[in-house]
C-alpha cells in the first residue's frame, strides 16, 4: 500500500485533525487579542496596582514551558475549580490563549507606546475623553504598527498547538501519530504531516500580509521611501 492511498483512506481523520488544529489556533489567537489588548492598555494607562497585576500575569505565562502550563491546567487548575469535565480541546485552546495573551500584550504595549504623545494631546485638546482618544486615535494607529509583529503569533501558535497532543486533543499531530502507529510508515506520514503544517502556515501568513496591505495608510508606519 503506497503512502498516497493510505493518506486518502485516512483523509476524514486528517481533515478533522486539520480542523482541530485550526480551531485551536483561531480560538487561542482570539482569546489572546481579547485579553492581550486590554492588558496592554492597562500596562500603559493603568494605575500602579493594575500594572503590577498584569506584570505578574505576563511573568507567569511567559515564564513556564508550554507543556508545564498545559499539564498544570489539565490535571490541576481546571479540575481544582470544578471544571474537570472540560473537553481536552477546550482546555488546550484556553491555555494556548491565556499564554498567547501574555505575549500579545507586549506586542500591543510596544505599539501603543510608539505613538507620539502629540496624538493624545491633540485629541484631548479637542475635548475628547481619554477613552474616546484611545479608541479612535491611539488604537487605530497602534494596531497598524502592531500587525507585522503580531503576525508572528500565527506561526507560533500553529506550531505550539501541536503540544495539545500531550492531553489527547485530536489535532493534526495526534492524528499523524495514530496513522503511524497503525501503518508503521513513520517518516512518510510525518513528512506528509509536516507538509500540511507548512501549507497552513503559508496560507495564514499570506492572509495576514494581505490584511497588512489593505489597512496600510500612505506614509504611515511603512518606512518605505
Amino acid at each position: 500500500m503506497d503512502v498516497l492511498s493510505i493518506l486518502i483512506d485516512w483523509s476524514p481523520y486528517i481533515v478533522a485533525g486539520i480542523a482541530a488544529t485550526l480551531g485551536l489556533v483561531l480560538i487561542a489567537l482570539g482569546i489572546g487579542i481579547l485579553l492581550g489588548l486590554p492588558m496592554a492598555l492597562g500596562q500603559v494607562y493603568g494605575s500602579r496596582p493594575v500594572r503590577w497585576a498584569i506584570g505578574i500575569y505576563v511573568w507567569f505565562f511567559r515564564g513556564l514551558p508550554i507543556l508545564v502550563l498545559l499539564f498544570l491546567f489539565w490535571f490541576g487548575i481546571f479540575p481544582g475549580i470544578g471544571l474537570g469535565d472540560l473537553p481536552a480541546f477546550v482546555v488546550g485552546a484556553v491555555v494556548l490563549g491565556l499564554r498567547g495573551a501574555a505575549y500579545q500584550s507586549q506586542i500591543f504595549r510596544g505599539a501603543i507606546q510608539s505613538i507620539g504623545e502629540g496624538q493624545m494631546i491633540a485629541a484631548r485638546s479637542l475635548g475628547m475623553s481619554r477613552f474616546i482618544a484611545i479608541y479612535s486615535v491611539i488604537l487605530p494607529q497602534a494596531m497598524r504598527i502592531a500587525l507585522p509583529g503580531w503576525s508572528n503569533e500565527y506561526p507560533n501558535m500553529l506550531t505550539d498547538s501541536a503540544v495539545c497532543y500531550a492531553i489527547g486533543v485530536a489535532e493534526l499531530l495526534t492524528v499523524t501519530s495514530r496513522i503511524v502507529s497503525q501503518t508503521y510508515l513513520t517518516m512518510p506520514i510525518f513528512l506528509a504531516s509536516a507538509g500540511i503544517f507548512i501549507l497552513l502556515n503559508y496560507g495564514g501568513i499570506k492572509v495576514l500580509h494581505g490584511v497588512e496591505r489593505r489597512i496600510a495608510i500612505p506614509g504611515f508606519g511603512s518606512g518605505a521611501v
Partner: protein
C-alpha cells in the same frame, strides 16, 4: 477694559516643574475678537501658559475663566471647555491615520455627536476656509508643513471655539510656508476670531496683535499695543530682545 466683553480671564497662574518655577503669576483678560500675541525668549513659559489655559498642564495656582465659568478645577467638564478653547500646535499633531477631512471630522463625530453628513459638511467648510478643500482626501504624510498646519487650524475651527490658542504655529515652517499659515491666521483675526498666539514672528505680531505681552522669566515684563512697545522709549526689554535678531542682518 470693559469687563462684560471679556471672554477669557487668566488670574495669577503659577507653575513649577521640579525646582524650576516656569510661570510666576500671570494675569490678563482677553476681549472677544482680540488677538493677543506672546513674545519672549525660549523657556519663559509661553507654551506652558497656553497649556495651563486649557488644562493640558495643570497650574499649581491661579484660575482660568471662560465666559464667567471656571475652567480650572472643572473636573470632567474640562472636555466641554476644551471644545470651546481650540488649540494649534507647533508640530500640527494631525491624526496620522486619517485624511485631512477626517482629521477635521473626528471630534465633530465623537465629541459633538454630529451625523456623518453634518460633520462632513462642516469639515469641508472649514477646509475651504483655510484653502484646502482640494486636499481633503490626502493623508498628513502627503501634506506640506504649511498645509498640515492649516488642516490643524481647520480642525480647531470646526468646534466653533470661543478662543483659539496658537502655540508657535509657524516655528517648524520655512518662510514661504510660514506666510501661508500667517495669512490664514490674519484672515481669522479680521473675521473676529479671538486668538492667543505664541510666536516669534514680529511682523505678524505688529500687524495683527491688539496687544503684545512680552514674557520673561515667567512673568509678563511688558504689555501694550504693538505701537506702544515698539516706539515708546519707556519700553526697552522687548526692543532689546528683537534687536538681537536684527544684529544678524549684517548692517
Amino acid at each position: 477694559m470693559s469687563d462684560n466683553n471679556i471672554v477669557l480671564r487668566v488670574e495669577d497662574i503659577h507653575k513649577s516643574f521640579g525646582n524650576n518655577e516656569v510661570l510666576r503669576g500671570i494675569s490678563f483678560g482677553v476681549r472677544r475678537g482680540e488677538t493677543k500675541v506672546f513674545i519672549g525668549p525660549s523657556g519663559t513659559g509661553k507654551s506652558t501658559l497656553l497649556r495651563c489655559i486649557n488644562q493640558l498642564t495643570i497650574p499649581d495656582r491661579g484660575s482660568v475663566w471662560l465666559d464667567g465659568e471656571e475652567v480650572t478645577n472643572s473636573g470632567a467638564r474640562i472636555n466641554y471647555f476644551r471644545q470651546k478653547i481650540g488649540m494649534v500646535f507647533q508640530n500640527y499633531y494631525l491624526f496620522d491615520h486619517l485624511t485631512a477631512l477626517k482629521n477635521v471630522e473626528l471630534a465633530l463625530l465623537k465629541v459633538r455627536g454630529m451625523s456623518r453628513s453634518e460633520a462632513r459638511e462642516k469639515a469641508l467648510t472649514e477646509l475651504r476656509q483655510v484653502g484646502l478643500e482640494d486636499w481633503a482626501d490626502h493623508y498628513p504624510a502627503e501634506l506640506s508643513g504649511g498645509q498640515a498646519q492649516r488642516v490643524s487650524i481647520a480642525r480647531a475651527l470646526a468646534m466653533d471655539p470661543d478662543v483659539i490658542l496658537f502655540d508657535e504655529p509657524t516655528s517648524a515652517l520655512d518662510p514661504e510656508l510660514t506666510r501661508e499659515v500667517l495669512e490664514v491666521m490674519k484672515k481669522l483675526a479680521l473675521q473676529g476670531m479671538t486668538m492667543l498666539v505664541v510666536t516669534h514672528e514680529m511682523g505678524f505680531a505688529c500687524s495683527v496683535a491688539t496687544e503684545i505681552l512680552f514674557m520673561e522669566n515667567g512673568v509678563v515684563a511688558e504689555q501694550g499695543t504693538p505701537d506702544l512697545l515698539m516706539h515708546d522709549p519707556k519700553f526697552t526689554r522687548m526692543k532689546n530682545f528683537i534687536g538681537q535678531f536684527d544684529s544678524y542682518r549684517g548692517d
